[in-house]
Subunit: 361 residues, 2 copies
C-alpha cells in the first residue's frame, strides 16, 4: 500500500481511503462489465443503477422525502449563485441574503443581476469573524427566498442552527459542510453544494430542491439554467459528470456503512474538539480567528504570533506530511480543513506537531 | 488483465486502454504524492502542472497559438449553446446557424433567447441525411458569427471542410469529432466540445476561443457564463472538474505518443472504410442512412431490412460483447460509434459479426 499524506486542503479535499481503493479496483472494468464507469453511456443500465443508488442513498442519509428532487449538476456553487436567483427570484423579484463571508458576497452579487437583494444581515464589519444572531436579521416577509452560507471556509465560521425565516423559503449554500451532520430537511427549500469537500471530486454540484419551487422556473430561462428541466429529466437532460456521481455514490455508501450522519457528526465534533482544545490551551500562542460559539467544525482557522512563524509552521508541517495548511490568500494565517474524510489520527498527529512547534519556536 | 468489451456507445464512450491503466495505477496516490488527483487543491503545484500540460499538449496537437485561450469548463455542449450567443451575439445581435441535426437545432434554440437567428442552411427536409453545400448557405455578412456542428452523432453525417464565412467568425460545436483529425485553427474563432467522445470523461467541456472575441463578453453576464472571466483566470475562476481534466491530459499525451492527429486521422479513415465497405458490399442488406460523401467517420449509421432484424442484431451483438449499437431513440436503426479510442480490431470483429448475421438472417 502506498503512503498517504495528511491532506488538510480546503477543497478539492481528502476522500475516504475505502472509496479510493474501490474506485481504483473498478477503474479499468467496472464489476466485470468490461468498461470503466468513465466510458459508460449515461443512459445505459449500469449507470442508471449507479445514479439511482446515489439518489436513494442521499435520501437515506438526510431523510429526504419525495417532496424534493435531487439533481447532480455541473458548474459548481458559482453557477448556483446565478441559477438560484434566475429560477427563484421572479415571483416578488426580491430576495434576502445573509452575508457571512466571501462566498455569500459572491452569491449576492449574482442575485443583483436578477432582482433586488436585501442584505438581511452581514458581519463584514467584524471581518466575518462571527455568524449574525437571529435578532440581527432584517428579514423581509415578502422576499422570494432567504439565502445563507452554512459554513464559511475562508473565515472558519459555521451556522449552528438555520436562520428562522417563517414562510419564506430557505436556500442554503452548503458547499463546505454538506453531510457533516443530519439536518432537518423540512426547514430547507433548496440546498446546493459543490462536491469537492464532503461529497466527491470537483465537477459535481448536488442540488436538493423542493418540488413546489419548480413552478417558479420560467420557460424563458436558458435550458441548462432551468431547475425544472433538470428535475423533469432526473439529472439526465444532458450528460452529467458520470464518474463524479459514481464517486459521490461511493461516499454516500461509506457514510451509511459508518452508521450515517449522526455518527459522522459525533466524529466531527470529536475531531474539531481535539484541535480547538490545543489552540485554546496554548496560552495564546495559537489564536483562533473567530467567535468561539461560531467556530466551524470543518475549517479550523488560527494565527501564530507573527507571519514569519506562520510561514515556518506551514513549511515544517508540509515537510512532515501535513498538506494544505496555508490560510486562504485573502486572509492569511493557518487553516486546517478537517472534512468528513479526514481521520482523527491525522488531527492528533497535527496537534502533536503544533505542541512541538510551539515548544521550539 | 480483466476482459474488455467492444464499446460502440455514442458517448460517454470508449477511452484508450493505456489511459485507463495509468489512471488506475495512480488513483490512490498520484506519482507518490500521497493523494489522489481527485483530492488535490486545484491551486496546488501538482494540479497546476497537470492543467498546464493539458493546455500545452492540446496546443501541440491542434497547432493552437497564443491568439487563443483554452478553457476547461463545465455544463457540456448544452451550456455552450447558451454561452456562445450570450457572449458573442451582442455586437450585431444576430447570428447565422447551419442546422444539420438535433444538436444544431438545440444550439439555435438557445441563441434565439438572445438575439435574431438566421438559419443559413438546413437539411431538415432531407431528414438531416446530408450536409448542405456551400452554395446553399445564405450567410449574412453582418452576422455576429456563424455556428455549425461539425459531426452529427444522431444522423451520422460530418462536414468534410468548414463552411466559408469570410470575415464572419466561425463557431463550431465539435463535441463528437474533436481531435479526430488536424484542422486549420485559423479558420475558427471558437470551438467547443463536450469531453465524453474523443477527449475524456463527461463533465469537462473544452472551449478554444480566439482572444479578440473576449472583448464581446459583457460585464453584465452572469459570472460563470462569461468567457472573459474564465479566460482571464485561465480556467481557475472557480474549481474546475480536476479529475476530468487530468484524464483529458492523459488522452492528449496518448495522441501525441501515437504520432499526433495526422496519424489518428489515418487510422480513423481506415477504420471507417472497413465498416462502410461491408455495408456497401452487402447487396443492400445493410443500408447506410446518409449521403455517401457526408458520411461520418465517428458514427456509422445504418439500417437492416426491418426493425425486427435490427432488434435481433443489437441483441445478438450485445451477447457477443458489442455494446451500444442501438441507434438514437429518435431515429432507430443501428449506430456504431468508432471514436478515436475504438480499436481497428473491434471494427473488424464487428464486420465479421455483420457478415455472419447476414448469412443467418
Amino acid at each position: 500500500m502506498e503512503k498517504r499524506i495528511y491532506n488538510l486542503s480546503a477543497g478539492p479535499a481528502i476522500l475516504p481511503e475505502e472509496v479510493l481503493l474501490e474506485a481504483q479496483k473498478d477503474l479499468y472494468s467496472y464489476k466485470g462489465s468490461g468498461m470503466s464507469v468513465m466510458e459508460m453511456s449515461h443512459r445505459g443500465k449500469i449507470f442508471d443503477g449507479i445514479i439511482k443508488d446515489a439518489d436513494a442513498d442521499l435520501r437515506k442519509l438526510l431523510g429526504i422525502n419525495e417532496d424534493y428532487s435531487i439533481l447532480f449538476l455541473q458548474g459548481g456553487a458559482t453557477l448556483q449563485f446565478s441559477m438560484v436567483p434566475l429560477n427563484l427570484m421572479p415571483p416578488n423579484n426580491k430576495a434576502d441574503y445573509i452575508v457571512t463571508g466571501a462566498w455569500a458576497e459572491k452569491a449576492a452579487k449574482e442575485a443583483k443581476r436578477v432582482g433586488a437583494v436585501n442584505v438581511a444581515a452581514t458581519t463584514k464589519s467584524d471581518n466575518y469573524a462571527r455568524i449574525p444572531k437571529q435578532a440581527e436579521m432584517k428579514l423581509d416577509p415578502e422576499a422570494s427566498y432567504v439565502h445563507f452560507t452554512s459554513n464559511n471556509t475562508i473565515f472558519g465560521t459555521q451556522f449552528r442552527t438555520e436562520p428562522e425565516t417563517g414562510n419564506v423559503p430557505l436556500v442554503c449554500d452548503a458547499s463546505s459542510d454538506f453531510l457533516h451532520k443530519k439536518i432537518d430537511m423540512n426547514k430547507y427549500s433548496l440546498i446546493y453544494a459543490g462536491a469537492q469537500k464532503n461529497i466527491g471530486p470537483s465537477g459535481v454540484t448536488v442540488v436538493v430542491i423542493k418540488k413546489d419551487l419548480l413552478a417558479r422556473s420560467s420557460d424563458s430561462l436558458h435550458t441548462y439554467m432551468n431547475y425544472k428541466i433538470h428535475a423533469d429529466n432526473e439529472t439526465m437532460y444532458n450528460t452529467p459528470t458520470t464518474f463524479g456521481i459514481y464517486i459521490a455514490g461511493l461516499v454516500f455508501k461509506w457514510l451509511l456503512n459508518m452508521g450515517g450522519l449522526d455518527e459522522m457528526y459525533k466524529r466531527n465534533l470529536d475531531k474539531a474538539k481535539v484541535l480547538y482544545d490545543v489552540i485554546d490551551g496554548s496560552d495564546g500562542y495559537y489564536k483562533g480567528t473567530t467567535a468561539v460559539e461560531d467556530r466551524s467544525l470543518m475549517n479550523v482557522t488560527y494565527r501564530l504570533p507573527n507571519e514569519q512563524l506562520e510561514e515556518k509552521f506551514v513549511k515544517e508541517a508540509s515537510a512532515k506530511g501535513f498538506s494544505g495548511l496555508k490560510g486562504h490568500r485573502s486572509v492569511g494565517g493557518i487553516r486546517a480543513s478537517i472534512y468528513n474524510a479526514f481521520p482523527k489520527a491525522g488531527v492528533e498527529a497535527l496537534t502533536e506537531f503544533m505542541s512541538e512547534f510551539k515548544k521550539n519556536n
